[in-house]
Point group: C2
Chain length 252, copies 2
């Protein structure tokens, strides 16, 4: 089993990016499906694909890639023929949210920004399928887009999602905390933006634990206490400072 063409269900951010990526990689996007015919047509036109509404899906055809919001995957799947091979692209939905016998997950682990073409070659793809043959075919398909493809079970994907929240969402929140704190002292986040880049760049080739710096890593209680004093007017942020500092102190 190999896939030389695919159907895409959805017209959102991930769907649009995948449509373009497959087209660039020479994999034909056969048809784009959506609830809204106009949106489907719009998404399909960029790659000269057919388009139609989701209630007009043939019982036979290529792999269907459902790239819709997590909440909608189950319902969309129930509208698709049981006879089709269907995968979703979600990091958090279980594979078994899909009702088809031959089902799987085709999850690009990246936050995709509209109008910014990602470097697909480095984006990790997490693959899972209801059977070995489909799994291998999905790995082969993802390999046309990316150099980083792994089979990951639904259970592992749950752990991965927790870690992604910590390393991605929580990190962004700390940027926001820093920005607010700077602003309250008439300073701009621009002062820290190069440092933010460099901190993320460093761990691309290093283990984060090995490149940890700062007062907590040095067990520099004098600086830590000075910082707590400087945070006294913002008890919430102060508590967060204490919580993370204690974790660093413990691990170094």
């Amino acid at each position: 089993m190999t896939f030389n063409e695919v159907d895409i269900v959805g017209t959102g951010n991930v769907a649009s990016h995948l449509i373009r990526a497959f087209n660039t990689a020479g994999i034909e996007v056969s048809c784009v499906y959506a609830r809204d015919a106009a949106k489907a047509a719009d998404a399909a036109t960029t790659v000269n694909a057919r388009s139609t509404t989701i209630d007009e899906v043939d019982h036979d055809g290529p792999l269907m890639i459902v790239a819709v919001s997590d909440d909608a995957i189950g319902q969309v799947s129930s509208l698709l023929p049981r006879t089709r091979k269907v995968v979703h692209t979600s990091g958090s939905a279980a594979m078994d949210v899909l009702r088809q016998e031959q089902r799987g997950v085709f999850y690009p682990l990246q936050t995709l920004t509209r109008d910014v073409t990602p470097d697909w070659k480095v984006i990790p793809f997490c693959i899972e399928a209801s059977d070995e043959e489909l799994s291998d075919a999905l790995v082969q398909l993802a390999g046309q887009l990316s150099d980083s493809v792994q089979k990951i079970s639904s259970e592992q994907r749950r752990y991965l999602h927790v870690a992604a929240v910590i390393a991605n969402n929580f990190t962004n929140h700390l940027y926001a905390e820093a920005a607010d704190y700077l602003k309250s002292h008439d300073l701009s986040l621009d002062l820290l933006r190069p440092l933010i880049s460099e901190t993320a760049r460093k761990v691309q080739s290093a283990e984060p634990h090995q490149v940890q710096t700062g007062p907590a890593k040095r067990h520099d209680t004098q600086t830590i206490n000075e910082h707590l004093e400087l945070l006294k007017n913002d008890p919430g942020l102060r508590d967060l400072y204490v919580a993370i500092t204690e974790r660093i102190l413990k691990s170094h």
Copy 2:
């Protein structure tokens, strides 16, 4: 007052980087001082500068840039003639740690990695001085290295340091937490490295608050509770997850 040459005190990471940067920018490094004559000679040789030990400093000469560890600045300053213009390069030490009448701060806000030449043009320089004329001259000098130079008082620099710890040290710690958690589930941080890059890249041009994503931002309590369940074997990390999640919930 303009500086066409400088003396450097120190042979560590910041000192070595500054020596090379000044040389590249066409600003002569006149002499490199250190406690250890061999180390001073070694650091000076790359740019054909003179070198000598720190107890042999002339009473007159160019700007002295003291690039030593925070703890050592006061002591080093006390060994230098009171008649010299002296600045330090620290983000956390106050200007008045220096004993010279004409003193200042020349602080490049970046984490410098040995053997990696930084892009000096984008590194913010925080400047402070004991008088306006010296301050202007330091701004002009930093401007030879970087396009991002600002006058920042010692008090502002303290707030800036708190924010840098939050956006840099704490962020790196979250990378380490994610790496440990992944490892305990037989997964590699490699899966998240591209996402880490992208998250830091996004805030280079966006406000962090505006690009926040994830379950806490969506007030998706179902996913949050699933994650807490997945963290039940690691109560410390679970508490941290709760603390940061509560901060995000409050701010969105």
